[in-house]
């Protein structure tokens, strides 16, 4: 199987879907002619491959970009628009929260809004807190939006293709830290569609469930390998892949089997999506729990710049291992 980076996998999904369906177009700041003119970037070369009619560079106008998507979608197009960085969702949020998410409901089911908002997220890249702030819980809080957050290039390709074909608005988070890590990705010869709303068991285990999405999935896997090798603890790693709709069945099935839960995310702890996972398990699977639920999340601070400061707040394998050890009484 081909080995692609996250960005290359996203680009392959865009190319395949644009070739398949002329209703798909791209718009955003620098999606065509980019100052980040990098062959590993998701929209690199698409302007030349398609045309300025289908790859639209926009002014720096997040509200207009998101509104463009809403209006174009209701007319039957399939816009894939880019909001550069997660914190800029706040500028586009009227169109996303009050319009994309609600207008189908307000129409009584008469209208549909098949749009995708691609947005860079994650916890690295050293850009500071106005460029890094993981707002997936904000988006998942809005009924009417689907929220996707893949952790591997293969999932990124398959989920983006599914998102583009979905008749609902989808917020698609791309973790910047995963950008340069290659992984196996099915090529054009197979119809690679990963369903939205299905979690993936990335590692089987019997002692504890570690739930994550995006970059922390890789840290969870690292932690699981180390726990198995050094402590004989077998952790099951569940990659949610989609936050809304949440795969409650997969979550509850795993926790009922292992009896322990650690949720890991790059977003702040307070009000983060980990709280939703924890509450769901407490409501539905409390009798299965052998230990309290633990959340390993970013600290409740804006993401600082200086590398030692930034690293201090980020969930890593070591913090996950500490949390698991507390639950299985290894201290």
């Amino acid at each position: 199987m081909q080995q692609l980076t996250f960005g290359e996998a996203v680009r392959q999904a865009l190319v395949e879907e644009m070739r398949r369906d002329p209703a798909v177009f791209l718009a955003g700041e620098g999606v065509g002619v980019s100052i980040h003119d990098n062959p590993k970037a998701p929209t690199y070369g698409l302007l030349q491959m398609f045309s300025p009619e289908r790859v639209k560079d926009t002014p720096v106008s997040e509200a207009a970009i998101a509104g463009l998507a809403v209006g174009a979608a209701v007319m039957g197009l399939r816009p894939v628009v880019e909001i550069m960085f997660s914190p800029f969702l706040t500028i586009a949020s009227d169109q996303i929260v009050n319009h994309a998410a609600k207008l189908r409901y307000l129409s009584g089911g008469k209208s549909r809004f098949p749009l995708v908002v691609r947005v860079k997220a994650g916890s690295g890249a050293g850009a500071g807190c106005q460029h890094i702030h993981n707002l997936e819980a904000w988006m998942a809080h809005c009924p009417g939006l689907k929220v996707v957050f893949p952790s591997t290039p293969g999932d990124a390709k398959g989920l983006l293709k599914t998102a583009i074909r979905d008749d609902n608005p989808v917020i698609f988070f791309e973790d910047m830290v995963l950008g340069l890590v290659p992984g196996p990705v099915p090529g054009e010869e197979v119809e690679h569609l990963v369903p939205i709303g299905k979690a993936d068991v990335k590692r089987l285990g019997r002692d504890v469930t570690i739930v994550a999405w995006g970059r922390p999935v890789l840290e969870a896997l690292k932690a699981a390998e180390q726990l198995a090798a050094e402590n004989g603890v077998e952790a099951e790693v569940l990659d949610l892949r989609t936050l809304a709709p949440l795969d409650r069945d997969a979550l509850l099935r795993s926790v009922r089997k292992t009896g322990r839960l650690v949720v890991v995310h790059d977003a702040n702890k307070t009000g983060g999506f980990g709280a939703e996972i924890a509450a769901t398990v407490a409501e539905e699977a409390f009798p299965s729990l052998k230990a309290p639920i633990r959340r390993v999340a970013a600290l409740d601070i804006p993401v600082p710049f200086s590398p030692p400061l930034a690293q201090y707040g980020i969930p890593d394998a070591a913090r996950i291992i500490t949390a698991v050890k507390e639950l299985v009484n290894l201290h």
Binding site: F25, E53, K56, T58, P59, S61, A63, A64, A66, G67, L68, A69, V70, G71, A72, A73, V74, M75, G76, L77, P79, D94, Q95, N98, H99, L103, R104, Y105, L106, S107, G108, G109, K110, S111, R112, P143, G144, K146, D167, N168
Partner: protein, 320 residues
Amino acid sequence: MITSTKKIDLLESMLLVRRFEEKLTEMSRAGERIAGMVILCTGQEAVAAGVCRALEPEDVIISNHRSHGHLLAKGAPPGPVMAEILGRRTGCNKGKSGTLHIAVPEVNALCTTTVVGGGIPIAVGTAFAAQYQRRPVVTTCFFGDGAADEGSFHEALNLAALWHLPVIFVCENNAWAGAQRHEEHTLVQDIATRALGYGMTGHVVDGNDAVAVYEATREARRRCLEGKGPVLLEMKTYRWRGHSEFDRQLYQPKEEIAAWMERCPIKLLQEALLAEGVLTYAVVAEMEDRARRTVEEAVAFAMNSPWPEPEEALENVFCD
């Protein structure tokens, strides 16, 4: 040139909107019949009729919280519109929207939003889609003078002009944004002048003259379809009633309202048509009757319609 038939059509359309909204005022005073807000365009009918009757059926409109006139003039069926306002299952949107966000895709009234300025970027999207699909379709977006202070207005106009999109931005300047008069929220006397800042055409139109509104819209539509880009039309009109029917209008001078009522758009057109000999008093009486009957039928349809079952609240969040 506008034909006499079209002038009669404008009058008929304005009469329907006026009678429809007068009925809503009456019902909201009666209290028990309308659960929520009632926001009216009484006195502004010339804009609704003049613009929408100048459009073709496939043209798109994006409306706002003062939408009844736009929707009815675009051809939305009065019965389902009334049923939606009353929250009934037979409403245009099955009772999900109420008076404030009615969408009627059947007549290409694709979106009504109550977020002030929220519809303006969406109009950029629908206009872009028409351009992309190479369809001769124009989008018209209605918003008030208050919305012209929102960032979304400026972002949308800039993008629409840059991409030469077929969209007519219709600013209904009714002199009041909430409880603020025009001079209290902007120093620019004519919002149409802002078009210049985006490389776009802008015109001030007498918004109480339905014929002038119609002609300005026809011309703007022609420009749009020739690929000459968007147009900003500022319709100078006046809000006879408060922001909503809950608003007692204490801040609005009574003499100002009275002066504008003298320039009632319906009266102006009716008198002109009688003077031109296009209409007789007998025909006017028939038109009045027809409008009243249509509204009574709409109310009867709505009142005889069932409420939605509570569980229907769960439907239509997502497409299947």
